[in-house]
Subunit: 164 residues, 2 copies
DNA sequence: CAAAAATCGTTTGGACACTAACAATCTTTA
DNA sequence: TAAAGATTGTTAGTGTCCAAACGATTTTTG
């Protein structure tokens, strides 16, 4: 929502449409700014860091999770990354075709598939993640150090509240 | 990213992978919590408010923008809603088929299309938006009143910084 | 005033991600 | 220990969204 109207304009207009009804504008601002910021940040990271390496957002998340926790079971990747098993299957096949990751059957449990990065995948992440984090730092730099902590904590609270 | 690992565990593990490199964990926490919160909030609103009315997220945003600003040009809807013109075309056709919105050709400029809600569309939004805002309030209620303002402002800063 | 450029909404083709159904494998139950 | 149930990753089918190309219209330019 990269709107052209200011929040104040929107508020006035909303009030006109909802004459008499009570609206929590503070909560509305939290939600609306949350979505705008998330979209803007994701677009920025995709454009500056991921696109040059021809990686989709989800592909990067998979690489990241595997890089940190390898060898890791596919179901754990999906949970950690926040997407479905079905989505993971496709992304993983792509990464395997690009020789950045490999599947291995578990010896203990024939249903499970373990995933590791290839040496090339590890090299990529060792370059890519510092770049990624550099942009994260650039983004967060508009906030003071303590504001960064406060914001992260507030967002964490919201997530925890909704996910139990 | 609804991970099963704590942030501290991830930090330790990341440090192992990046021995010697400097990582801004504070910025990383801001970004990561931002995405988790946005996803969680959107999922919650879709499930509790939108799904019962068989509306997609984008369809709701379109209804909302048109409701506030009607009559409004399609290009403005797309910009205000933060999605492409192509996406809007499809969603708008769906909404028109459901008789919630209508397209009208501009008299001043033959290229432009103006959009309005039907009476049924307005009735729907008058019910739907208070429901939606009620859930927004529920979500924001984990934060104090001043924390809501602080968070909204921090998120707004981030967006503005990235979008210029 | 005509031709070139710009801008509009739509169409097309493709990427991505989800749910539901499935076969393979392991665990529980009786 | 054999049958029923649960769990795994994959496949099939669907919906959503976007960038690029396109016809239609308006604006600008020479």
């Amino acid at each position: 929502m990269a709107g052209t109207h200011t929040l104040a304009e929107t508020e006035r207009q909303v009030n006109e449409r909802l004459a008499g009804m009570t609206i929590d504008f503070k909560a509305m601002a939290v939600a609306s700014n949350l979505f705008r910021a998330a979209t803007a940040v994701r677009n920025h990271l995709e454009r500056t860091v991921l696109a040059p390496h021809d990686l989709s957002w989800t592909a990067f998340v998979v690489l990241w999770v595997v890089w940190i926790w390898e060898p890791i079971e596919t179901r754990q990747i999906a949970e950690e990354g926040g997407f479905s098993k079905a989505t993971l299957t496709g992304v993983l096949s792509t990464l395997e075709a690009r020789k950045l990751a490999i599947r291995k059957k578990s010896k203990d449990d024939g249903r499970l598939v373990l995933v590791e990065l290839t040496p090339a995948g590890r090299r990529l992440m060792k370059d890519l993640f510092p770049e990624f984090n550099k942009q994260e730092a650039h983004i967060a730099s508009v906030l003071s150090n303590s504001a960064q902590e406060t914001s992260a904590e507030a967002l964490r609270k919201i997530t925890k509240h909704l996910e139990g």
